[in-house]
């Protein structure tokens, strides 16, 4: 099923400079009980964001009005752990369309690409610069351009290119999904299945 197209995103960004942010932090398991994909944003980073009595934790970045935007900037090895796509859904549902980090866990990255959230991997030096700039001025705009595969910081010389394979890039630019592609291969899949030994 098609999702939002992604070409250029220019937005302020939310900094979360913690390493190894795992999917249990992004969305704890007790919120995975839904049978529909709806409402996960409310529980994004639930236990970092709220006390057990549901009072917001003031020192957590999502509760700080200074920082907002459609880009989440996370520390190295973002999205490790569980394969739950709910983590990517929560990020999307909260309003983020792009996550920037210096390293992503594999399954999380795939999940993002499959639902139209762009994972952007940059060097750790550039990541440091982005954090620095946002902390200095939370209204700093970050531009992620998928067509030219670049990340820029407004009002600064700094920019970097990122990698994405042509197939996925094309999907993101046009909002295509893999299933549409695969359904067109159905006949070859069926004949292939007859040849497999298992």
């Amino acid at each position: 099923m098609a999702y939002d197209k992604f070409k250029i995103l220019k937005s302020t960004a939310v900094p979360l400079p913690i390493e190894n942010i795992d999917t249990d932090q992004i969305i704890p398991a007790r919120f995975l009980k839904a049978t529909e994909r709806r409402g996960f944003g409310d529980n994004l980073f639930r236990d970092w964001r709220y006390y057990s009595n549901n009072k917001p934790k003031d020192d957590f970045v999502l509760n700080n009005n200074k920082y907002c935007g459609k880009i989440l900037v996370g520390g190295k090895n973002f999205g490790s752990g569980s394969s739950r796509e709910h983590a990517a859904w929560a990020i999307y549902d909260y309003g983020f369309r792009c996550v920037i980090s210096s390293f992503f866990a594999d399954i999380f990255k795939n999940n993002c690409l499959n639902i139209g959230v762009l994972p952007v991997q940059i060097s750790s030096d550039f990541l440091e610069i982005i954090f620095e700039k946002i902390y200095k001025d939370p209204s700093t705009l970050v531009t992620v351009d998928l067509t030219e595969q670049s990340v820029k910081i407004s009002g600064s010389e700094h920019y970097e290119n990122f990698q994405i394979n042509d197939y996925k890039k094309n999907n993101m630019l046009n909002g295509y999904d893999d299933i549409d592609f695969l359904l067109n291969l159905k006949e070859s899949i069926k004949s292939f299945s007859k040849k497999t030994p298992l």
């Binding site: 390493e19 839904a34 796509e85 695969l182 291969l185 070859s188």
Partner: protein
């Protein structure tokens, strides 16, 4: 051209290669559970299509199920809705469904091998990252997200770029009280939780060839904790003996045919790996974790590292110790614990219960410890009873619960309370993984048993 085990299995399943894009990979076996499948089935409904190969799809209920009174209706409303949804979906699409109470029910990665669904040379996926478990049989097995579950249900294929190849060789004889879990925690502590991201791992060497199938499953299960897509071990006679005669395994004439193929499933002598590690098995000690990711493991008789010895970011390291309420340099032995969890797809098989029972036999559970012993499946539960382990456990003050994922992810009522410490045989010690505010120390069934007896972190060799 010479090939690795991984190449052989992967390449033989590629239907189509996309230039500068992923491979279209055919999937032989798809395991489905109640938590990551409902939205995928909804997707099929929206597209108005049915499951392409229901006979290659197997469904069970495990993540969200109670471990007590499974014969009664499930109390939690949302959980019962998920179970209902899976049952209906399975029925509608003609998929075998082993729901609560079914004699084949259990944790998805425990029942696959038990029933001969897991086979050498197969591609196996499931919406759970520990699908890597099945690699113990020489299968390519990995976890997928819900969009991909929908992909496999509707087309039996997945689109993935081929991962790079890593081999981890461990030779030498393992020391007393060192189990497959310790081997895995040792490797992760060396490579870190992202050290194998982008790779598919093959484990090789004497340590693995001498390991039981259960042990190999434990090791492959934990591959994901170092970021790997999956891990695998070349099948050998142990593998074939394990599979033979199981319900879904090839039978009679088919068996001889498939054996010819299975015997070719090993890396060629001169095959190339993108990365290779060698470790000395004799250097591995019983392990335990002290922090909030599985890479934060140490030999049980050593101390928590100082921040400057630890490779990563200092603030993240400190945040982790604060969460655990531990300090740098602390000895881990003697730390007080409150809970013990024996179970999960990592260590919930019969061999794990044997090892645990062997330690607690003739001893009494510490009155300060709450112990949850949760078999990985009904088959395991049955074996525990038939082998007389249950009696011994009862005499030592332990009870057995009913099968399921339980406190591994604490979606059901089995939650470790805030601030409490659990020695757990599961696979993740993330903040709040076993319940909001819970503190997890990952270890082997033997180390868990020793802790259950003394109420503190204890070297099983000192008992």
């Amino acid at each position: 051209m010479s090939k690795t085990l991984f190449d052989k299995v992967w390449d033989s399943h590629v239907i189509k290669k996309i230039n500068n894009g992923p491979d279209v990979l055919f999937i032989d076996r798809h395991m489905v559970h109640e938590v990551t499948s409902p939205v995928a089935f909804l997707g099929l409904k929206k597209r108005n299509i049915k499951v392409l190969f229901p006979e290659k799809t197997f469904a069970t209920a495990d993540h969200n199920t109670p471990t007590r009174n499974q014969h009664l209706p499930v109390k939690d409303y949302l959980s019962s809705k998920q179970l209902e949804a899976l049952e209906k979906n399975a029925q509608y699409h003609g998929i075998s469904y082993w729901g609560l109470g079914h004699e084949k029910n259990g944790i998805v990665h425990v029942i696959g091998p038990e029933h001969g669904i897991t086979l050498p040379g197969a591609t196996i996926v499931c919406g759970d990252s520990h699908t890597s478990t099945h690699g113990a049989f020489g299968a390519i097995a990995f976890g997928i997200g819900t969009s991909e579950v929908e992909m496999v249900l509707s087309t039996q294929c997945i689109m993935q770029p081929k991962p790079k190849k890593m081999r981890i060789n461990i030779n030498g004889k393992l020391n007393d009280s060192v189990t497959p879990k310790d081997v895995a925690l040792f490797i992760i502590s060396k490579l870190s939780t992202s050290g194998a991201t982008g790779y598919f791992v093959e484990y090789s060497g004497k340590v693995f060839s001498e390991m039981s199938m259960e042990g190999r499953m434990t090791v492959c299960n934990l591959s994901i904790e170092m970021g790997a897509r999956g891990g695998m071990i070349a099948p050998d006679n142990k593998t074939f003996d394990y599979i033979k005669g199981r319900e879904f395994a090839p039978q009679n004439g088919e068996w001889d045919e498939v054996m010819k193929y299975w015997k070719t499933l090993k890396s060629d002598d001169d095959a190339d790996f993108d990365k290779e590690y060698d470790f000395d098995g004799t250097k591995i000690e019983p392990m335990i974790t002290y922090g909030t990711n599985p890479g934060m493991g140490i030999a049980i008789n050593s101390g928590i590292p100082y921040s400057n010895q630890h490779g990563g970011n200092i603030e993240t390291f400190q945040k982790s110790l604060d969460y655990m309420n531990y300090s740098q340099g602390d000895k881990i032995l003697g730390k007080k614990i409150d809970f013990v969890f024996l179970g999960s797809c990592t260590n919930g098989r019969i061999e794990d219960f044997r090892a645990f029972t062997n330690i607690v036999k003739g001893r009494k559970k510490s009155p300060n410890v709450t112990a949850w012993l949760v078999p990985g499946s009904h088959r395991v539960e049955k074996a525990i009873k038939e082998e007389g382990l249950l009696n011994i456990l009862n005499q030592s003050g332990f009870e057995l619960r009913e099968p399921g994922c339980s406190a591994c992810l604490a979606m059901n009522d089995d939650k470790i309370p805030t601030g409490k410490y659990a020695v757990s045989t599961s696979n993740r010690n993330f903040e709040g993984r076993q319940g909001p505010g819970s503190r997890t120390l990952l270890a082997s069934p033997i180390v868990a048993a020793a802790a259950a007896i003394t109420g503190k972190v204890t070297d099983p060799r000192d008992l």
